[in-house]
Amino acid sequence: MINFNLKSLFRKSFIIFVSVFSLLYAACGNNINIAGTNIFTNPANKISDTASDAFTQQLYSEALAYEPLLGQSGTQVHMGYWSGKGNHGDLVRVLDAINASTAAAGQATNKAIWDEGAQTSLQYPSYIVMTFEHWYERGSAVDGKVTIFGVQYTDPFPVTFAQADQIWGQYSQRYGDTARLFYNATGNVVQVWCFVNGAKANRIFFTYEYPELVKLEAEGVVSVHFAKTDLSDWTVPSDWTDGTANAPTPL
């Protein structure tokens, strides 16, 4: 058992290393400068990339590299969303509970993901690259200088704050769009769990993710559930409000 886990850990670490390296290598032809682990990607290119179907496919492939069952017929895929102070951890709790659940005989295997990765501890290479790109550090440069962990840089491709929001917003939309691919592969409607009580109207969930969920719901790809409280349990239907039409009112 220990050997199996070590092998699995090694395999996943190798996947992360190779995938991040490959993405960096690919990005080198895409107007970027690399300083240590900071990546100064041209924001116009990133906006174009994160708007594309190819980016959705990339996220889907990265999820399957971690967990092949996500693309297997019969698997029940769950996707998580959060917005607002305190809600990040509540979603982690539910996703971990789903992934720790054991399917009864004859029932679908449950697998949960979120925009950071497959399971809450395995981050997609594309997500890791997003963090290395430091969009908000770059989008709030002071006197033309970007400060990243105490070191100042001159950004070769200056970023506006609106671009930083757009890039993260589009990244999240493409994560949402992976639901179609999971639905097609598994044959099961994707279950979506949202912790968004207290979320603000002008942030990424309600401006980018929620409209995408409305579309996916209308297509019959997802079934959307909103947590009533911080402690909502995915196995207790009365803990949730169902349907995008019944989303909590944003602040």
Partner: protein
């Protein structure tokens, strides 16, 4: 690295939220700090944890205000927000206020 810097990094290094500070007790955070700095006293750890917990709250408040345009809309707005954060919770390095502010922009993005 001293205790306060380690406590700071637990909250602010490449994080989408101050998850450890939201989910772990003071005792669990002390264990986490001591894994990096075994000789740190419990009082030092607790003082640092209390200070960083407050900074996390302050960062949410300042970054929300920044996003709502309360520091203005021009290039000086970020600088003004960082200065306000340092006045609200003094005692960290200038570079830490920069990091806390930009990390908070990601926390409040979603």
């Amino acid at each position: 690295m001293d205790v306060k810097h380690i406590a700071f990094d637990i909250a602010f290094r490449n994080k989408r939220s101050p998850l450890d500070y939201e989910k772990l007790t003071d005792e669990q955070l002390i264990v986490k700090i001591k894994s990096s700095l075994p000789n740190a006293s419990e009082k030092e750890c607790l003082d640092a944890i209390t200070k960083v917990r407050q900074l996390c709250n302050d960062v949410y408040e300042i970054c929300d205000a920044y996003r709502d345009g309360k520091f203005g809309k021009d290039a000086s707005a970020a600088k003004a927000a960082i200065i306000e954060l340092s006045k609200k919770n003094p005692g960290f390095l200038a570079s830490e206020y920069d990091t806390a502010f930009t990390t908070g922009l990601l926390w409040t993005a979603f």
